[in-house]
């Protein structure tokens, strides 16, 4: 029984050692080691923030398929749309580098050790000049021809019925089919 203080002391020490990662994290939070997420410009995200934190990759996958294969493009719901809202110039007037933690996607991805290669092809900047150029360029009257409302509604109904059954869209590309 004389060993009791020694045993209790050793147990306490063990507890401290085991919980070190927790304390380190808790202390580090006050020192800025947790992700510092750059503020977005818009009033709200295209989906609730909590949903986006968990599911943004699924949304991006669907939007990418719709844009590339089906030609369904959205201004806000798109990777350039994300960049428009989430990427701003830094204090020095430059846009953050893709590898920097000041870049919106990297703030969390770097923290959790997820590596993405989106930006080896995609632009990581807002497309403000494009919007200005598009506004000036000529519109095409024939582009609106031959797009009956029935086609639009059938496509939309198909998409919404597939989703209401709680399924993610099955992609029609052979690569996706094999999974």
């Amino acid at each position: 029984m004389r060993d009791r203080p020694v045993i209790l002391g050793a147990l306490a020490l063990l507890l401290v050692i085991l919980s070190a990662p927790f304390w380190r994290g808790a202390l580090a939070q006050t020192h800025g080691a947790s992700p510092v997420i750059p503020a977005a410009k818009g009033a709200h995200c295209v989906r609730p923030v909590a949903w986006m934190r968990k599911n943004h990759m699924k949304l991006l996958m669907r939007l990418r398929y719709e844009a590339v294969h089906e030609g369904i493009r959205h201004k806000e719901e798109s990777l350039p749309g994300c960049m428009n809202c989430h990427v701003s110039r830094l204090a020095d007037g430059k846009y953050p580098s893709v590898t920097s933690r000041k870049f919106f996607c990297n703030a969390c991805h770097d923290y959790v050790g997820v590596r993405i290669d989106c930006f080896s092809c995609h632009s990581n900047r807002p497309d403000v000049p494009y919007q200005a150029a598009e506004a000036m360029s000529r519109t095409l009257p024939v582009a609106r021809e031959g797009r009956a409302a029935t086609v639009v509604t059938a496509r939309a109904a198909r998409a919404s019925s597939a989703l209401s059954q709680g399924q993610e869209r099955r992609w029609s590309s052979p690569l996706w089919r094999s999974q």
Binding site: P48, R64, H69, G71, I72, E145, S173
Partner: protein, 279 residues
Amino acid sequence: MRKSPGENSTAGKPRRGRGEVGEGRNLGQPAERGRAEAGIDEGRRWLVGAAAVSALVLAPGVSLIAYAEAAGRRAAGASSKTRWGLLIDTTKCKASCSVCVAACSSYNGWKNEGRPTDPQWIRKVQVSDPKTGFSRSVPVMCQHCGNAPCVEVCPTGASFKRADGIVLVDRHICIGCRFCMMACPYKARSFISENLTNQKPWAPRGKGTVEGCTLCVPRIDAGKIPACVEACSREGGGAMTFGNLKDPQSAIRRALAEYPAAQLRADLMLDPGVRYRGL
């Protein structure tokens, strides 16, 4: 494709369901709530119920207001009622002019500095008949074939044809094997072998993938004409006509009905979407 306001109302209603379902499935979690409630005694159950009801009533209401606007702007997408095509009047195309190439290059953000591996989405080609001396300068780009050999040979499905006839590379699934470059008789595709930076936001392109003329697909989806056609009509000879080959009333179909127009390598029977008048 940007829609007219009339189409908006028809497409908006069914599409709006997507946001609601997504939120309900991932945020409301009715199944989990049910499991949690099972262990709570009757006396306090009303509290949980009230919280659940208020969450169900308030949360989707707030998000509905916020997201309804975005959901209403769903675009229609590519339709098989359209087949986009180009008619190039070679009698109006001067050998000295290359504004179409410059416009494509600046819009899509590629640069050809004369190296053999440099991209060439569109290029000016001098065609001549050595026996007669007849010579013409023509722009050659992806011919957006009806029976595209690049689509046939692609092992991953990255090379594909959209419903409206535009042949594209889905560079998310392109493995850079370059079979399509071998298969294309028009040499319309090129391979990116170096790291790129500062791509245009509307024209992503990167190392290890094959690329080619997209007929300026983001512009077409926004209801605009390709950059080369616009530049040709504004600064060039007005030699290019863009339009829907399936619409008998379109300018391109009326011109094709009136004058003979050649297909490049018609012997291959690829049904190209690009036709050349005066060859």
